[in-house]
């Protein structure tokens, strides 16, 4: 359902009225279209030490206009802040105050990206305090930014270098329009061997085969479209009853439709056989299929509870077991599961759904530990309020409130979730494992 308020507030007179009245002023987000520049203007690189130099070099390598100091009157596309060398809380002041001075120069849809190291790997309490401080500061900046600008961070695990392929891949993603609805998040990357450069930068997933479950409509259909746009061959899966819409999605993305109920005991075998026969290897598996059967726990019946658990988490566990044991699943295979902010923060009337989605997070973390160093990865994407047929059915006031309850003051689009999934499926994301990436516009609900 169209966000009427968002459309209205971005026209001159109602926009001025909203400003005068102090009403939310959601911006039209900068989303990715192939061929777009990475950022809408010059990139200011702040911070001292090798991290800042490395970032500046990388950005220059991508043909970006790089600034090391704010020029009076110049608008900026993004600010990258290297904080990877901080060792005392006092180290944060200078670069962050400089960032504060630069924030006003950010163009609409601008980006702030921090680079830091994890507090838990610090050798001493002062360093840990400084590193953890980055977390609080960047999340706060994200909440202060307006006009569709976002602030996110990259955390370098296990001593990964600032120019490791994983860090640079994350930087590219966070600067680009692909991360439009990702806000106040940290991508934790470890050092992995450099991925093969895609022959065509516009098709980073060329030559790969992806399976998307629940692909007949909504977010699943959009995931299929984005993976196809990025060059992947897509097998779309949904229950036989959704076959008509599923066929339409398959024909739109030049893929194949496979009518399978993922809760069936032979679901994984059928999917793997299909991929083996038609494509040989499976590179990407997106567990998107999910259902809601909302009721307050006091009114919950076993049928509603069990159906949600069976579809949203039990099926994923069973499929993953067979996937990870199968030679058809690539040694560099990627599994991406749909979690939900409900699984992080809980949601009234969704105890079953939240249990299943929190379960997904638990599964992803445990599986990631087992996959560490194997070349395969598993991650979760947790959408916040995303505009779908499901949210269109919400009561108007609830929907309106939910839309404004994020730093970006609007609901996300299915494409926002799909872009993050496509990033996690791409070569440079190989160093990201066991993470839960929220695509929620920094929803005020949850962490």
């Amino acid at each position: 359902m169209a966000d009427t308020y968002l459309g209205l507030v971005n026209t001159p007179l109602p926009g001025r009225m909203a400003k005068t009245l102090g009403l939310p002023r959601p911006a039209v987000l900068r989303r990715y279209t192939p061929g777009d520049p990475l950022v809408p203007g010059p990139v200011l690189v702040l911070g001292s030490g090798s991290g800042a130099d490395t970032l500046a070099d990388a950005l220059l390598g991508w043909d970006q206009d790089v600034r090391r100091h704010l020029r009076p009157g110049e608008k900026l596309g993004a600010v990258a802040v290297a904080l990877d060398a901080v060792s005392r809380p006092e180290d944060l002041g200078a670069p962050l105050l400089e960032l504060g001075a630069a924030v006003r120069a950010l163009l609409p849809g601008g980006r702030v990206v921090s680079l830091a190291r994890p507090a838990e790997e610090a050798g001493d309490p002062a360093t840990a305090a400084a590193r953890q401080g980055v977390d609080g500061a960047v999340r706060s900046v994200a909440k202060e930014l307006r006009t569709g600008a976002t602030a996110n961070g990259i955390v370098l695990l296990d001593g990964a270098a600032a120019d490791s392929p994983g860090a640079l891949g994350a930087l590219r993603f966070l600067l680009s329009g692909r991360s439009a609805y990702v806000d106040g998040q940290f991508l934790r990357v470890s050092a992995v061997p450099a991925p093969e450069e895609p022959a065509d930068a516009g098709a980073p997933l060329a030559g790969r085969t992806a399976v998307v479950t629940g692909a007949a409509r909504g977010i699943g259909a959009k995931i299929a479209e984005v993976l196809h746009r990025d060059g992947a061959k897509v097998v779309v899966v949904d229950v036989p009853a959704a076959g008509e819409q599923l066929a339409a999605v398959a024909n739109r993305v030049g893929g194949t439709a496979l009518q399978v109920d993922i809760t069936a005991p032979d679901a994984a075998a059928r999917i793997l056989n299909h991929v083996k026969d038609r494509h040989g290897t499976l590179n990407i598996f997106v567990h998107n299929a999910g259902i809601t059967r909302d009721k307050l726990l006091a009114n919950m019946d076993p049928a509603r509870w069990n159906a949600v658990i069976a579809v949203n988490i039990s099926s994923q566990l069973r499929i993953n077991d067979e996937l990870l044991a199968s030679p058809v699943f690539s040694p560099e295979g990627r599994i991406i599961s749909l979690a939900s902010t409900s699984g992080i923060a809980g949601n009234r009337g969704q105890s079953n759904y939240a249990a299943s989605k929190a379960g997904v997070i638990g599964m992803v973390r445990a599986t990631a530990a087992a996959l560490a160093g194997s070349g395969r990865t598993i991650n979760a994407v947790a959408p916040g309020f995303i505009e779908t047929d499901m949210t269109a059915k919400m009561p108007m006031l609830t929907r309106e409130a939910a839309r404004r309850l994020s730093s970006l003051q609007q609901g996300g689009q299915p494409v926002d979730v799909a872009e993050t999934i496509a990033f996690l499926a791409s070569g440079p994301a190989g160093g990201i494992n066991g993470q839960v990436i929220r695509v929620c516009g920094q929803n005020l609900v949850g962490a």
Binding site: P240, A241, E244, L246, A247, A248, N251, Q259, R278
Partner: protein, 437 residues
């Protein structure tokens, strides 16, 4: 027979394989597809096939399909459906019409082209809508309208219109009546049913098996890669999974009431008017291999026959009985050599009359010119995944339904042969052999 891949046109004969199929669930006439045209449904069936096998934008060698109840505007139905589908616009197509054998005949025709190397891939099938059937103006009105269009002066126009009579305004609704006898298909079959003494109980048992077998096939997911839902329908609307012999026994006879023998044919053991579409993807072995497509079964051979029903020498729907020995003899096969029998259930008694005829020594000697009975059909191998009594029978779509389902059953078994028998209006019939790979 040579199986050389890539045989040049007309030089050698290669295998034609069934790669897979797709149909939309069949709807009762006036039901879920009441406002869908033949073109809509054929496009839906094609698009589901394209989605299943990833054929988007592909130029298929040829698409052949047809409809029995056809509007004059649908003169190029199949080509129009291709243009409305996700296939390449460079895919040629032709229409075929052979009454209820239309669908099977398209499979035979395209398989033959593949065998001869004229095409590498083909999509065969058919569609029918009893809901969206053409209604024709009366002959009187038609002649007046034609004369009116040719009239130049007001006087000529007036003369044309003045010939119009009130009775000319009543439209001619379509019927399943035979043009030469005026009898409906059901009344024709009632004659055959009586001649062979087919009992009500035997017919109801066959109808019951059809429903039970089709329901079981759905239960085990047999149709998950043979069907794509359409317009909210996810299963054949005619299927009564909970039917019983008791329920079937309660139905009143609808055909054969005027005969001196008891009427036995009811709405339960006759197929209802149905809407639907079915298509089958065929290819050479090379085509399937190059495109990583499955090969379910070979299309081995087929035979058509026709009988003189007009003078009452044979039943309207008995032509397959005559085609069968010719097909078996040419291939050196007997009923014992087959693992599946797909005998189209136009009426339960059609199937039972055919079986009785093949088992009759006298009939086979005198009518078929054989030394003795053609043989018995093991009933446990008959229509094992249900047939037209349960699924419904959108005339031209039935052949595609049967070929795709039989090919899948053969692929599941991994060996053996299947025999298809389809009767058709006009005293025609087509039989065919598929073989597992």
């Amino acid at each position: 027979m040579s199986n050389q891949p890539g045989a040049g046109a007309g030089t050698t004969v290669r295998n034609a394989v069934v790669i897979g199929g797709n149909r939309i669930p069949f709807a009762r006439s006036g039901g879920a597809y009441a406002s869908s045209s033949n073109k809509d449904m054929l496009i839906a069936a094609l698009d589901g096939l394209v989605a299943r096998f990833g054929l988007q934008g592909e130029r298929i060698g040829q698409v052949a399909a047809g409809a029995v109840l056809k509007h004059s505007r649908d003169f190029n139905l199949t080509r129009e459906a291709v243009l409305g589908s996700a296939l390449s616009a460079h895919t040629p197509a032709y229409d075929l019409q052979q009454a209820c054998a239309t669908g099977l005949e398209t499979v035979v025709g395209l398989a033959n082209k593949i065998k001869l190397g004229q095409i590498d891939s083909g999509i065969a099938g058919g569609v029918d809508s009893a809901s969206d059937a053409p209604i024709v103006v009366s002959e009187g009105l038609r002649r007046v309208l034609l004369d009116l269009s040719r009239a130049r002066t007001p006087k000529q126009k007036l003369a044309a219109v003045s010939r119009l009579r009130p009775r000319d305004l009543a439209p001619n609704a379509p019927t399943t009546g035979e043009p030469r006898t005026g009898l409906s298909m059901g009344e024709h079959q009632a004659l055959t049913t009586a001649a062979w003494g087919i009992t009500r109980e035997a017919q109801d048992e066959l109808a019951y098996s059809s429903h039970a077998n089709l329901a079981a096939a759905y239960e085990r997911g047999f149709f998950e890669d043979l069907m794509t839902p359409y317009r909210g329908l996810t299963r054949d609307a005619n299927l009564r999974a909970d039917t019983s012999l008791e329920k079937l026994a309660k139905l009143k006879p609808v055909f054969g009431a005027g005969l001196d023998t008891p009427a036995t044919m009811t709405a339960g053991n006759s197929t209802p008017l149905t809407d639907g579409a079915a298509v089958v993807l065929l290819g050479s072995e090379d085509y399937a291999r190059v495109n990583n497509l499955p090969m379910l079964a070979n299309v081995v051979d087929a035979e058509a026959a026709a009988v003189d029903f007009v003078n009452g020498q044979e039943g309207l729907l008995m032509a397959p009985v005559y085609a069968m020995p010719r097909l078996l003899q040419r291939n050196g096969l007997h009923f014992d050599d087959f693992d599946f029998f797909e005998i189209h259930e136009a009426f339960a008694s059609t199937v039972l009359s055919s079986i009785a005829a093949w088992e009759s020594e006298e009939f086979c000697r005198t009518r078929l010119g054989l030394d003795g009975a053609l043989g018995k059909i093991d009933r446990s191998k008959l229509n094992v995944n249900g047939s037209s009594l349960a699924a419904g029978h959108p005339f031209a779509a039935t052949g595609g339904r049967i070929v795709a389902s039989l090919a899948k059953a053969l692929a599941e078994k991994g060996s053996g042969r299947g025999l298809i028998s389809v009767c058709a209006a006009g005293g025609q019939g087509v039989v065919a052999i598929l073989e597992a790979r």
